[in-house]
Subunit: 296 residues, 2 copies
Amino acid sequence: MQNSYSHSLSTNKQLTQKSVNRCFNGEQHYYSHESTSTKTSMTFSIYLPDEALAGRRCPAILYLSGLTCNADNVTHKAHFQQKCSELGMILIAPDTSPRSSEESDVPNDDRYFVGQGASYYVDATQAPWSDNFNMQSYIVDELYDLLRSEFPIHSIGVTGHSMGGHGALLLGFKFPSKFVSVSALSPVCAASESAWGVAAYTEYFGDDESLWAQADASKMIEKVGQQYSSILVDQGGADNFLAEGQLQTSKLQEACTKANQPLTLRYQAGHDHSYYFIQTVISDHIEHHWHMAQLS
Amino acid sequence: MQNSYSHSLSTNKQLTQKSVNRCFNGEQHYYSHESTSTKTSMTFSIYLPDEALAGRRCPAILYLSGLTCNADNVTHKAHFQQKCSELGMILIAPDTSPRSSEESDVPNDDRYFVGQGASYYVDATQAPWSDNFNMQSYIVDELYDLLRSEFPIHSIGVTGHSMGGHGALLLGFKFPSKFVSVSALSPVCAASESAWGVAAYTEYFGDDESLWAQADASKMIEKVGQQYSSILVDQGGADNFLAEGQLQTSKLQEACTKANQPLTLRYQAGHDHSYYFIQTVISDHIEHHWHMAQLS
């Protein structure tokens, strides 16, 4: 009976391990590190199946969370661990933005869709945001390189929920050389035309319209054309944010049609925007990324 | 595409529906009601698979949570919904004790293992607890009858975690006519001899030793003998509360041996006391209760 497992980090001292919990045939870890992109300490969770703990390179999924979330929500509530354990996949959940702490004072906004918890995974160009809100660089450069150097990663796919679904689609198509697969759950499909995104981009980009277009997933897909043999998107049919016009799923569908980008788009009857929906479909997304990793 | 589901409650007005979320092929509901046992409002969650929503009687599991928990912890973090959806099972998660509110002032204690969140599922006999802390009566009489009258339930099994595992074993063997199956995760197996239970029972029962023995799962099993064709217990091998002597799993094993009660007891290597462990084994427990319900 083996009672403990450990992951031997390299001698690189960039990561501070915060917790380890065994879960299915693997371990759920949390780490923090000092980020040069955000000038703050950043925390992420990573699920490591036993194959990875034994040092074998595994396909990985970067999961980008939505408005108001940090790494905890998906790690506690989405139940990705069982399928990752079955398939031998790594899943990394970063925070959604830099945060204020005793060491660093990060700008914020009273609206939940702007500021801390609401980065939209872009690099802000306007004060006071541009000092810290560089989540595009954090995800696709800094964290990406850190993960590849510290963990036995074979390839990386990107997914996310809501504002994180926007992030997954945007970064997946803006930096296709970084990712082998893309999927999204209930994504904000046209951030530059949604009420949430208009409020945020007014703060982060001011009136520079070219930056707005580069931060809109549907416009990015239309611009760059097909990048993946298929992408998977799930959307709850009873999602109040779909009804309110924040998600604009039809614009993603139109963009993929124009770009000749194969899209599997599933409207799931009766499902809302919550983690009850995420847990319902997450296994299919993990399998999608696993299959794409086998082809890469 | 069907976008909404509904559960038609009977005209009995005892229940107030607090929320409904679609999850897998079923719905996660929350209800509150005024309890005569605890003299407070009580909240429970119930997962209803589509079979139950269509009015077909389904086997049900009563899940009793551990110290400090309410209905939310297991409902958000244990991920029982997928397996319940697959098998067509109902799962009910009550609160762990009465709670203070604007309408009712319930006694409490600074220690997390006594008072609100720490009922041990017994009927207290000592002031100030005996007015409200009647969770045995609440579970096996009041809530039990309410569930059977309001939802299409075929039969009820009982399970739980930690202090709730104690509750499942205790109530399952004290009231075997009520339940068709029993299992437990990381249970407190001998509450009257654990530091947590000694502190709680000193408050709830004073020095009446006969009441202490009737509130100890291992002693109850030894007293009443075999009641079920088998029971299932999972215990994390790296559980700090096992090491500290709060759980005393070996006493359960000895009691079952003496009682000729078949026990499947599994020590899971490397696993701790957390919901990461619960989610790892919960599907096996749901299948155990499902199989027992088929035989009932």
